[in-house]
Subunit: 159 residues, 3 copies
């Protein structure tokens, strides 16, 4: 790839049609990420852009698979934006260790893997092969504010 | 703060009206915490005091938001009690890396962030600014024994 | 124990009646495990043997407690198979830090601890006392492809 990770991040933001330039605020009494050595624990992110939760409702009922995948991508863009700010550049991400994907699921909806693939694909496009990660996807009953998806992860910094 | 963390832990126990002096037993075939270097993985805790599960039922149906917040605080007190015993004192906790908060949620209940704030606020009161953590809160369908909340976390020890 | 861990792994596979000799493929766009130093993050595993998901349906409705426990054991056998391949032998596992057990649960089913004990017991039989781990068990609404159980864990390698 001839582009940098930070350029590809911007390209993904444009493709999604959202800006991730503003402050990424957590919704409660906690911090968006904690660093211990080179291990970075990123807080669970819902598909919020600015102050607006852009995907609410359960996958398989109010939300289609395609919408849930896009919701997962917005969650991951927030995580990448947080890592970019904490590290200065996404080039400083050495690897993504584990991602947890929580999908608000209607009865009988069991395409959580496919929803999570939306997030994993975006990470691969931005970070390249180093973005390959272990992943767990589950279908939960409710999420904060009615969010369609929530994602957290553990990233490893180069230095 | 002129008090020690261990003193503030006792003050929180008194405010909740529960004692966390007894043995903190896990409910199954596992151990309450595992240490790897300075990283401490604490097992999921439900709001049990001694042998009694003090908060059962789902938030938004059998349990109010205020009760679910108190349930979350009991879970965190158990975690702090486990860390205190393992490390000798809560002063030996360097940071809290990540907390997962699972709230047994009724249909339409989406105040998982507010429930988790009950736990995060208690950690801040006891540990001070070093207790700031990354957090993920989700609404699950069922929890062991009907518990209202279950919380686990990763703590970092000073030494 | 006079047998090796790898021998006990084979004995458990025979007792379950499944072979874990084939490739263990993840179901989506991610990798089965990521290693960072001696910390190994294993992706969430469902009870799949080869290409077949051998336990579908929710515990407490389509699946009994005994079946859900066996499903949990199949998940853990997949994890052990992955660790065995990555490390050459299960003797290279120093410890299991944390296990997350997600049980697809029917309304009113709250024996998630007992389901997870099926998995923890198998780990104890294969790895011995070093396999003792912190654990979190929750009851989720849906799982990928309708799986009865999904399990992930963090293992620590000796070297």
């Amino acid at each position: 790839m001839n582009t940098t990770r930070d350029q590809r991040f911007q390209a993904e933001a444009q493709a999604l049609g959202y800006s991730f330039d503003g402050e990424i605020r957590p919704g409660g009494h906690y911090v968006p990420l904690v660093r211990d050595g080179t291990t970075i624990y990123v807080a669970g992110q819902v598909p919020r852009v600015g102050d607006e939760l852009v995907f609410k409702g359960s996958a398989g009922a109010e939300r289609s698979l395609a919408e849930a995948q896009k919701a997962a991508q917005v969650c991951v863009m927030r995580i990448l934006a947080l890592l970019q700010r904490a590290l200065g550049s996404l080039d400083e991400v050495k690897s993504i260790a584990r991602m947890h994907v929580y999908v608000q699921s209607a009865a009988g909806f069991n395409q959580q893997t496919e929803v999570a693939d939306g997030a994993s694909g975006l990470i691969a496009r931005v970070l390249g092969p180093e973005g390959a990660h272990a992943r767990t996807s589950v279908g939960v009953f409710q999420l904060p504010k009615g969010a369609t998806v929530e994602i957290d992860l553990i990233a490893i910094a180069r230095h």
